[in-house]
Symmetry: C2
Subunit: 263 residues, 2 copies
């Protein structure tokens, strides 16, 4: 459920983008499980004053992405109210054999990632391509031990893999692919581009693990098309998360977006 003022801001973006993003984040969840999407259900709460135009625009954004991935819009609900725009999308899909989960990473496994990280707020989060094609290539040809998509932040989402798998990880600071947007943000913030890459979130890239030989095969093959795969770290037995700078290591607090749920 994506909300105006939280996940998008209609004073800063188009309603089409809000619709696109709401489906995209759901498809990213399916990609993280190596599932193929089949259908979507879309509900909207529309502010009275712009209801008709918003419904049209949101739907347009959803259909743009749905058609790219053969997702059938099979139902939903629209209502108007005295509140901001809220869009709920539920997607259904199927896995070939078994779904990837966060559980299954083994000490010694390499940690791989698609794409680049950081600065998503500058625009990427509204228009990213969910990594369904990457997941499809990976699941068909490689033994992946665990996977997730990065919605909350690279470090935080990696910590979820570690917790689920009962292990820890070392991230290699000079191998993290830092996006140009992270560089741009760092110019204005008091933080480094790397820090943005580790903690910004909403990158919607895949991070996944595989035994070393398998991981090297992935890195050589580069099977994910437009999404380059990078080796960003290693799974460890010790359950902590470390950032390795080559000459020194620092303990990495698993920061990122903490879901604004009730505390």
């Amino acid at each position: 459920m994506l909300l105006d003022g939280v996940h998008f801001d209609l004073s800063q973006c188009e309603a089409q983008q809000a619709g696109y993003k709401t489906l995209a984040v759901n498809l990213s969840d399916l990609a993280a499980m190596a599932a193929e999407p089949t259908y979507a259900l879309v509900s909207m709460a529309l502010p009275h004053e712009r209801a008709a135009q918003l419904a049209k625009d949101v739907t347009e954004g959803i259909l743009e992405l749905a058609s790219q991935f053969n997702v059938a819009l099979i139902g939903g609900d629209t209502n108007t109210w005295n509140g901001p725009l809220a869009i709920n999308v539920v997607v259904g899909g199927a896995v070939q054999d078994q779904a990837w989960t966060r559980k299954g990473a083994q000490p010694g496994d390499w940690i791989l990632a698609t794409g680049e990280f950081g600065g998503s707020i500058l625009g990427h989060h509204l228009g990213f391509t969910p990594r369904l094609h990457a997941a499809r290539s990976l699941v068909a040809n490689y033994q992946i031990s665990s996977a997730t998509d990065v919605s909350d932040g690279l470090a935080l989402d990696l910590s979820h893999i570690c917790t689920a798998s009962g292990c820890g990880a070392v991230l290699l600071s000079n191998q993290i692919p830092v996006s140009p947007a992270a560089q741009l943000l760092a110019n204005a913030s008091n933080r480094t581009p790397l820090d943005h890459a580790l903690a910004d979130g909403e990158d919607f890239e895949l991070i996944f693990t595989a035994a070393e030989a398998e991981a090297q095969r992935v890195l050589t093959d580069q099977p994910c098309g437009e999404a380059p795969v990078t080796h960003i770290g290693v799974i460890t037995e010790c359950p902590d998360l470390w950032l390795d700078h080559g000459t020194r290591r620092e303990l990495l607090p698993p920061r990122g977006y903490e879901h604004g749920g009730p505390s």
Copy 2:
């Protein structure tokens, strides 16, 4: 997707009731198809100031009903925002052979209904029992030609059956089961209890059709437990909706709740 100020009013009801209702209206849709529910996905947009308590209360109301019908809560999403409470529920279920639909009513079929109609706004709409048990008994033992649940209003939902089936209907005014709440409302409004029964909506009773002999068998057997089944009308070839008062007939405009979607 049920919204504060539209489908419930948190200044007039408990959050538990809002949660209960959001699942109940979905289960009513399954009952209308003779489907058995299996799972539910629940998303909430929670106003910042009361987020934790609201999430707890809404979930309590949902679980109360879910446990009655063995519905597994398998996922969802919670977020806080500067907006009113919005609750989205998606349910999944299964049919034995074929789902009931609105299409299939034949001229001469009798129109049957469970329960009573009108005045739901006085409380019924927040605490009704979806007619899943009734649907289960009916689908197992009788040939039902079409069915729907009454959410928008008896006359309007019946007109949906007629449109889908390419036919019309005559409702028998003195056989419509009018609820005590409809009587109560009529005392304050300038409308008759029957008018409330025909147009109020949110009764969440089933209306369905069957060939005359089959319908008479249902009426004799009364297989729907706590929900008495009544004979309320007849399907006709002529595609209009009539209200028969015994000595005279009047054309019945299919009134009821028009979804507040964009116009």
